[in-house]
Assembly symmetry: C2
Homo-oligomer: 646 residues x 2
């Protein structure tokens, strides 16, 4: 009898494992379907559906099927048990049920009005995974990959504009959406379309901040495929990467904004505390992320210098790189900062410094690894979004609210792009033309971040309505705007088939013809940026990588002993060698290199060509072709069979 009971209990446990397997299998199946469809589409050059859109569509269909096929209400759930002995919810709970002790783990707190939502379909409930999975598992690789694949040279040329759009633009967008929604909600309450829940202004601002995270992944994939004008690509990509970080921290700051008394009245102290929170968290996460990257650069630098056999262990190098980058995320989370922001800046810094110290094999491995993780995570999120329309138990559809939100999102995007472009064009040598502005306006898609932010908190009814609305706006923008990118590009007469390096060269040449001053050949050469560039080039790069001039020549005389210690021996030999960073980052295909453009004649990306282009616009570099040559030699010494891939 004892045995038999045991047997049943083992079976029971197995049942739980198998249940998990079935859910994962459904996701796998959806992803496989998505890949096969996209494969077919890519072969036929259909560009109206990106893999993310496809994933969403299949998720939606699967949700529909599960909803109507596996209708099996779970009898047990929905019942709330009383426990007077407990004062607070412990993390693990031991419960004695018919003389058997079961262990239960704390999952979450549920509002009373959501309890009924639990009387749902058991299968659907199982498919709903914890929102923290988005923030802790799925988003980090996506964001890291974005940072790691930032095309640095073009990014820095447009740094000022990108920062303006990302910070000022997101703030504008958040406030505009917040204000419009607040007015809208007030009006709806007035005409009786909405019950007067506790819909505060902070809730509207919260909605504004989460809807401000743009995710033009679909648009950028098409831009990449069609080789759209580099400046437009960089502006959009840079803006969307940084604006995710801003929106995440902004949402967090707003959610912990807690005025002492009346939640609708303005509380200056609480407001300034929120602003302080925002700045503190942002700066802290930035510092955490970049310092981990600096540590990685130093470790890989020391190993490269001390142990010459480094390139024999690309696996160890890749492992270290991966683990340290992940640690940046975890440390930020553990310190109460925002891990995703940390991982973004960690990615940017890793690409800037560590990438140069890696062996050629590791460069490729890290690139492909993060690309793969990004691909999977992105498709899982979009699949899940499709499913969420059915699996989420507490949807509140309010057509008027959704309509208002859609309007607010567009107005906010317009009041972000057009006024800021006007402002920026005052200072820019290379103006942002009208058609670029329209395209940026059009590319304001919402995606993974907005969804993840919205699903993180769905306790109260306003939050549930916001979640439903955010989900539908994501669907709408990804399908309609994502699908309409190619026609829009044609309509706006934006040039395609541009080679990034040739483009830069041409622009630099046309500008230097009209302006002979060397320092203004850049589209923007803000003094802040130039100070940073000089500092980075003279001190940080020689310290952390093998490029740049030796520290002995850049540091003052009296620092010589230290400088000698810190400079890599190879730096003396190739003072002219900088620029290989740019060479590597520009020449590679970090972003979506699984879809090179085959139908448009791609100019041969030979290394000397790109290096010469770099040389043209670099501030203090000489003969960079030589640098590229030396780089090749260095790789050859290490792994002869792979130098063509480096």
């Amino acid at each position: 009898m004892e045995k038999l009971k045991k047997y049943v209990s083992v079976k029971d446990e197995d049942h739980f494992y198998h249940q998990g397997a079935v859910e994962l299998l459904i996701f796998n199946f959806l992803l496989i379907l998505t890949i096969l469809t996209i494969w077919l589409f890519k072969n036929h050059r259909f560009r109206f559906l990106h893999e993310t859109g496809g994933a969403m569509l299949y998720g939606l269909l699967m949700g529909l099927i599960i909803q109507y096929v596996t209708k099996s209400p779970d009898v047990e759930s929905g019942t709330v048990y009383e426990c007077e002995k407990l004062k607070s919810g412990p993390s693990t709970l031991l419960i004695n049920i018919t003389n058997q002790v079961y262990e239960y783990q704390y999952k979450r707190e549920i509002s009373h009005h959501n309890v009924n939502g639990h009387q749902g379909n058991a299968m659907l409930q199982k498919m709903t995974f914890d929102p923290s999975i988005f923030f802790n598992i799925l988003l980090p690789p996506i964001i890291f990959h974005a940072g790691y694949s930032l095309k640095k040279r073009h990014f820095f040329r447009n740094l000022g504009s990108i920062l303006t759009y990302a910070f000022l633009g997101t703030a504008i967008s958040c406030i505009v959406i917040g204000l419009i929604m607040y007015g809208f909600v007030k009006a709806m309450v007035h005409i009786g379309q909405l019950k007067q829940w506790e819909f505060h202004f902070t809730d509207c601002l919260f909605f504004g901040s989460l809807m401000s995270a743009t995710d033009p992944v679909t648009v950028l994939a098409i831009f990449h495929e069609l080789n759209v004008d580099t400046d437009l690509y960089t502006l959009l990509f840079g803006e969307s990467v940084l604006n995710d970080a801003v929106a995440i921290v902004l949402t967090h700051s707003i959610s912990i904004y807690s005025p002492k008394e009346n939640p609708n009245a303005f509380d200056a102290a609480a407001f300034f505390q929120s602003v302080g929170n925002f700045l503190g968290i942002f700066a802290g996460s930035f510092a955490m992320g970049s310092s981990y990257a600096v540590v990685t650069a130093l470790i890989s630098f020391i190993h490269l210098t001390k142990f010459t056999k480094l390139c024999e262990f690309p696996m160890l190098e890749t492992g270290l790189f991966f683990l340290l980058s992940w640690s940046a995320f975890l440390s930020a989370e553990a310190a109460g900062l925002t891990g995703i922001v940390a991982v973004l800046f960690c990615g940017v810094t890793q690409a800037h410094y560590t990438y140069n110290n890696l062996s050629p094999d590791s460069k490729m491995r890290t690139k492909q690894l993060f690309e793969f993780m990004n691909f999977l995570a992105e498709n899982v999120i979009f699949c899940y979004m499709g499913l969420a329309l059915f699996t989420f138990q507490n949807h509140i559809f309010n057509p008027l609210f959704i309509f208002g939100a859609l309007m607010a999102v567009f107005v906010a995007r317009a009041s972000n792009i057009y006024p800021l472009s006007l402002l920026l064009n005052l200072g820019r040598k290379q103006k942002i033309p009208r058609n670029f502005q329209h395209m940026m306006m059009f590319s304001g898609l919402r995606g993974a971040i907005a969804f993840a932010l919205a699903i993180r908190d769905t306790d109260s009814q306003p939050k549930q309505m916001m979640f439903t609305t955010a989900l539908l706006i994501v669907f709408f923008t990804v399908w309609v705007f994502g699908g309409g990118t190619t026609p829009m590009l044609t309509w706006l007469q934006i040039r395609v088939g541009v080679d990034p390096d040739e483009d830069l060269k041409a622009k630099a040449a046309s500008q230097s013809a009209s302006n002979l001053d060397k320092n203004t050949t850049k589209a923007e050469s803000a003094w802040l940026f130039r100070i940073w560039y000089g500092f980075d080039h003279r001190y940080l790069k020689p310290l952390l990588t093998h490029t740049g001039p030796p520290l002995t020549s850049t540091l003052p005389e009296w620092c010589n002993p230290i400088a000698r210690l810190l400079t890599s021996p190879s730096a003396y030999g190739d003072q002219l060698k900088d620029g290989d960073t740019d060479y590597i980052i520009n020449n590679d295909e970090l972003t979506e290199n699984y879809e090179p453009s085959a139908h448009i004649p791609v100019p041969a990306q030979d290394s000397t060509g790109s290096i010469q282009a770099t040389g043209k616009e670099d501030i203090q570099e000489g003969d960079l072709g030589l640098g590229g040559y030396k780089l090749q030699l260095q790789h050859t010494a290490c792994e002869p069979q792979k130098n063509s891939l480096a």
Copy 2:
């Protein structure tokens, strides 16, 4: 007030996230330390500590630190609450605590005597992760990688011996350990060293089966580095891969063996049911795993045939490959079979068929991806083993039992290797020499699988004692035997620095000199194997890959219409082209290629050389050098810059 409460609850939730981050950070930190140490060791050619040993050591130290530094007993745990209303344990439990509803998720059932174990250190409790994580997340990549990196040509040459060691050997080992332990336990009870728990013979057999899974990862890494004799390497590697599968299914079959009445008496019906279970689960898992691989091969084959631009999307290909392989695992689990066995045979089949259809870029990507996952998972498991000595709350140390188990393990290994080698040598042309047998005896390390099987069930006291014992045996064998591999190799005068292909060539040549019959040039050419080889070569390979003769020439005349449909157009052109499978699999460095031997002169692995070697010993192949040449051409057409890597 409402707000404030909300704020606190958000903070609370955050606290949970942060706690998780800290634990993961500790693991990351341990892995980073391990990598840095190993990097240092590899540079100084210390071979007495492999990364797995290092990971275990650091885990142990960290466990010690956590144990003595963070002494903070959690007041809440250890208390069992009553709930009379519930009849069984639901998967989710809603509990009302001081007017707040909390959701709790079912974790596991706990035996009454283990409840006190819960009054432990909160930090240590947090570090203990669910045993199902081993089986569902950490082991699959390790096992898949083992299957995928099996050196096929050498494996098939020794197939008979490997199968004998894996099936018969594991069974012998399981029974011998079971019998010895049963005698030992009886004796211990007799002298009063052990209380008479319900220590049945099945429990002893259970222990025997889990201790029969050998894991010579340390030994094989050193073999690989030193280029030890290929036959020895293959015998050990093949045995350890297959024996994991056998041990897992065996353990499962024993754990569900449930005699009707007296658990100590022999119940023929239950016994045969267990045998049936074993065979059914093994065969089912094998079928599930290989059929997923066949599906993958077919999909990649169709895509390769229909869409010529395949090599443009290596990311999609890699994604598909990864997801389908994972689906094999999940489907087997969902069907109540053993996912790990399915994933092993999926790996073997993928390497055999699908690998040939992949674009060169995808070949490298999949290889590196699985290698990386294997590396991480292996080190996490070994780190965790070190930690588990302190984090596991219910250790039962019994020195006498541990001593007995250690003896039993060695006796069982000896009665596996020596008698079976004797038996096999009767049939083998190429005998297994004495020193190889000693080395195989010596390489009977226990590792990840034994640990994962032991931790899966630690409910009863005998199981807890077994777990503690298994853990200590893993420590002992990995450190002592792993560290002693190099001296042992020297002492046994086993030759090192052997080039696998040259070796095979030499052996084949020396054999064909003494024996002119072409069909017996193989070390073993069992009729079963030859039938399979012929079938595979004539029908499966042409159907699933681009190698082998066209189906139109191998199938009977009347099948011609179907054959024409199924044969890839390219197969007609290169009837002589087979062998590139062998070429690719042999020539690559799937196993541990992050540690090539640098101090031993590695013979240049030029492709023609290895292909000629293949040609010498292949059953029905003609001029394979030509095949290799054609293969090169094919790759060149696709991705010119990468053909040297293929």
